[in-house]
Symmetry: C2
Subunit: 138 residues, 2 copies
DNA sequence: TTCCATGCAAAGGGTTTGCACTCTC
DNA sequence: GAGAGTGCAAACCCTTTGCATGGAA
């Protein structure tokens, strides 16, 4: 799996209406080059490999910004930390609580039937499905 | 909605193989008298109404114990805090991110179709469905 | 020059841990 | 008297915030 070029990352940022900076480019390259599930700290570590002068605050700021611009999805799966998912198309997840491993399940493979009709004042944000499994013997 | 008696609470604890203590009885009464969604702090506040000498640590210890004994389910819905659900039968949730309001959706109402076949080494723990909505205008 | 993005350090908030005390069997 | 349960306070960890610096338009 290749990392995208700086040019490609720049285009993604412009496309989302986000001013381009070095750190943002690197975060795009780390997280958006391919479908990924990463914690903020994992992103920080990877970005620092190429841009060591990157602060934790910037990573958190940027991830929040990317979430608002729908470049990433924030998954609430593990109480310990948030996970950022660079696959923003509708899909679901399989989560191994023992290893932390998170696997995508496509919306073709799995379907949610019977989502209730919402009262007028409620807007549907998204439907999360998490299939929780364990790999260690109980 | 009535609070269950101490006797009823005691029977629940014994049934789950949990040694009976005053604090545990009160936590059962607060959380298990009816289907509830409560944070640890909400449980603590309610328990202290009747047993003021109750520590935060005891509430956390007890909630963890109850979870292991399947008296409650721990919901990971809000990154801010865990929510304990006293309804342990299979069901799903509707979550209003603006108000924090959490509503049960029965397993008759909503169904998940196409849960993938799991490799032999994985055990299914549970299937979480969270329908995320917002009530404030965007 | 005026913003905005960044880095750094500290604060914040939910949860866990260490330890001493108490109660029970 | 051994073990478990509890209370208290401190520690922990992820995340956010405040503030000063620095760069871009």
């Amino acid at each position: 799996m290749e990392t995208m070029t700086v040019l490609q990352a720049t285009e993604i940022l412009r496309g989302a209406g986000i001013p381009v900076t070095l750190q943002r480019v690197e975060i795009v390259r780390v997280l958006l080059s391919s479908p990924q599930h990463m914690s903020a700290d994992q992103v920080l570590a990877r970005v620092r490999e190429s841009v060591p002068e990157t602060s934790r605050a910037t990573v958190y700021n940027t991830l929040k910004l990317f979430r608002e611009k729908n470049l990433v999805r924030e998954l609430i799966v593990d109480p310990e930390r948030a996970v950022y998912d660079s696959n923003t198309s509708p899909h679901y997840h399989l989560y191994d609580a023992d290893t932390g491993q998170l696997t995508d399940i496509s919306a073709e493979e799995l379907q949610v039937v019977g989502v209730p009709h919402l009262p007028a004042h409620l807007r549907l944000e998204e439907v999360d499905v998490i299939i929780r499994v364990r790999s260690r013997p109980s």
